[in-house]
């Protein structure tokens, strides 16, 4: 039998001890690189913009550079004569912060519920997932509108409601991934060794559903950006006088014919940002799917 043993050792490919993880595999794809560059550009603008704006244009986001809707300065003025370019530079940070926070809430909540339901199985699972279905039957935006109508357009509410409405969607994915993992024998092995449930969830399940969760994270971040911007655009999100891209589009679209910059710049920024995060998400999804195919 030693001959067979040798044979098998030969058959084992020499693989490095540090195996490339999800991110490594994703990074190998061109979409990841393009997406990261696009995202990084907008994130840089959003993060540094509030400081850079006054330096570049000499204006504050809220002071007056000229008459309303005129072509003064780099990108003209807005409806009450503030400098559009300065406001554009200042308008991304809040949006980004809210989107990130909302996504974080959604992921934590959704993953917890989904893993719990998927691992528990049985009646508890069906009850939780039916409840999930009820929540899912509201489009997120409608839910957000309801909440804002009830409580008012506060930043914390925006973050909470978007995060909480992400949760059932993430929970569904997390549950599905969990069910697949729970079907694996290593979970039964862990149960056989009387590993406590929470340890099984955190130690056995969670590390094995990071692929789908990372994909969800990216996807929900993209959506969060979209929702925060959309709500601001509808006048129900970030409130004046804050410079915010969604709000700017709403404030300035009345004069699209006369002064398009106030719309064009934020539209471009949101587009580039969401495309960037979506490209990254797509590369993560490809990497995760590729792994499963192996």
């Amino acid at each position: 039998m030693t001959a067979v043993d040798k044979l098998e050792v030969v058959a084992t490919p020499e693989v490095p001890a540090t195996h490339p993880g999800l991110f490594h595999r994703a990074w190998a794809l061109p979409t990841a690189k393009i997406g990261t560059v696009l995202t990084a550009v907008v994130v840089l603008v959003a993060v540094l913009g509030p400081w850079l704006g006054p330096v570049i244009t000499g204006h504050d986001p809220t002071d007056f550079a000229g008459k309303p809707f005129k072509h003064d300065g780099i990108a003209g003025t807005d409806g009450i004569g503030r400098d559009v370019f300065t406001r554009f530079l200042a308008g991304g940070s809040t949006l980004l912060l809210y989107a990130v926070l909302a996504t974080a809430i959604g992921i934590v909540l959704g993953a917890a519920v989904g893993m719990f339901a998927g691992y528990s199985g049985g009646r508890l699972d069906s009850v939780v997932m039916r409840g999930n279905d009820v929540l899912l039957s509201f489009p997120q935006l409608v839910f957000a509108l309801l909440a804002i109508a009830m409580i008012g357009p506060h930043g914390w509410l925006l973050v909470t409601v978007i995060g909480v409405t992400h949760a059932p969607r993430i929970a569904r994915v997390a549950r599905q991934a969990t069910v697949a993992v729970v079907g694996c024998d290593y979970i039964r092995a862990a149960e056989m060794y009387a590993v406590p449930r929470w340890r099984i969830l955190t130690g056995e399940v969670l590390p094995n559903i990071t692929g789908p969760l990372m994909v969800e994270l990216g996807l929900r971040l993209t959506y969060s950006i979209g929702y925060v911007a959309s709500l601001s655009f509808l006048g129900l999100g970030i409130q004046p006088p804050s410079a915010d891209w969604g709000l700017m589009i709403n404030e300035n679209r009345i004069a699209l014919v006369v002064q398009p910059w106030g719309v064009l710049l934020p539209v471009l920024a949101i587009a580039v940002l969401t495309v960037g995060t979506n490209l990254i998400t797509d590369s993560l999804a490809s990497a995760a799917a590729h792994k499963e195919a192996r």
């Binding site: 039916r130 039957s137 509201f138 409608v142 804002i148 009830m150 993209t222 006048g235 699209l256 797509d282």
Partner: protein, 315 residues
């Protein structure tokens, strides 16, 4: 089979009922007093009390819920405090208008998505596949108002001036009486939804094309057209139907932004107005409609899924 569908139906009804409960509770929490809203600032407390009684606002909560639910069942959606008229008459034309928008967008995006998805799945790895994938990935990322705004800049105001950017319906006329003004809203929704359907169709179709029975069909020497039409396409439809359903249900939410953007006289715009005016009954009616639509669409998708799966269908 029939039993499965009935069971699915019962579950949907239960979900719908929970939704009515949720909507009712949520709107209970809306601040503001409808009676005061109707009577205005000068109203005396007595008159407000009288109107509250008349509107049944002093009844216990469960009584009001049952009354409201009964109204919903009999097609009476209540009284809009902001417009001082019945919700039915407020929303009647708007529902039709929204449905026109939704159905047009749904039909076009489904057709485009299925065709494009199948086409690219058959050309996997070729430049055209990469191009379609890339473009759909980019468009899928964009929030609907960004797509809408871009279309307005591109096709309405700044670059080309082909289509009107707002919907202007002469009083009494229907939205479709002037088809050119439907173009941009419909196109926006199509661009929002079609990329998802395309990508899903491509993925599912690729999987099906790699499947044993498609390989077998090819190894049987069948013409490629037969392989695609008879062996591959029917199997891709099932899973994609679910995605289409999700997307269409999602359209019901997206339509809010698109209607607001294009000033399209549908229920989405009415919802935003109602939220701004704290018009409780209108908010209730519209959210319920949107949720009901979601549930129905999903139900249909599940039934399609059951019917296309012979293992279930034969049961």
């Amino acid at each position: 089979m029939a039993r499965l569908i009935v069971r699915r139906l019962v579950v949907s009804l239960a979900v719908l009922w929970l939704v009515t409960l949720l909507v009712f509770i949520a709107t209970l929490l809306l601040p503001g007093d409808p009676a005061r809203a109707i009577l205005g600032q000068q109203a005396t407390p007595e008159r407000i009390a009288a109107l509250q009684h008349q509107l049944n606002l002093d009844a216990p909560v469960w009584q009001r819920y049952l009354d409201w639910l009964g109204g919903v069942f009999t097609g009476d959606l209540g009284f809009s405090t902001a417009t001082q008229g019945s919700v039915n008459s407020l929303l009647g034309d708007r529902i039709v208008a929204s449905l026109v928008l939704l159905v047009a967008a749904a039909v076009i995006s489904t057709a485009v998505g299925l065709a494009l998805g199948t086409w690219t799945a058959m050309r996997r790895g070729r430049p055209v596949d990469h191009a379609v994938s890339g473009i759909s990935l980019v468009i899928a990322a964009l929030p609907e108002f960004v797509i809408g705004m871009a279309l307005i800049i591109l096709l309405s105001t700044t670059v080309f001036r082909l289509f009107p950017s707002v919907t202007l319906t002469r009083p009494g006329a229907q939205v479709w009486s002037e088809p050119s003004q439907l173009v941009l809203p419909v196109l926006t929704l199509v661009l929002v939804v079609a990329p998802y359907i395309t990508r899903m169709m491509r993925a599912t179709m690729s999987e099906v094309l790699d499947s044993g029975y498609v390989e077998m069909a090819r190894l049987k020497g069948l013409p490629e057209r037969t392989v695609i039409v008879r062996h591959a396409f029917p199997h891709a439809i099932g899973p994609v139907a679910q995605v289409i359903a999700l997307q269409l249900a999602w359209l019901a939410g997206g339509v809010v932004v698109v209607e607001f953007l294009f000033r399209y006289p549908g229920i989405g715009q009415a919802l935003i107005d109602a939220v701004n005016k704290r018009d409780v009954e209108v908010v209730q009616a519209i959210t319920l409609m949107i949720a009901a639509m979601y549930i129905v669409v999903n139900l249909l998708a599940d039934i399609v899924g059951m019917l296309t799966n012979p293992k279930v269908a034969a049961r």
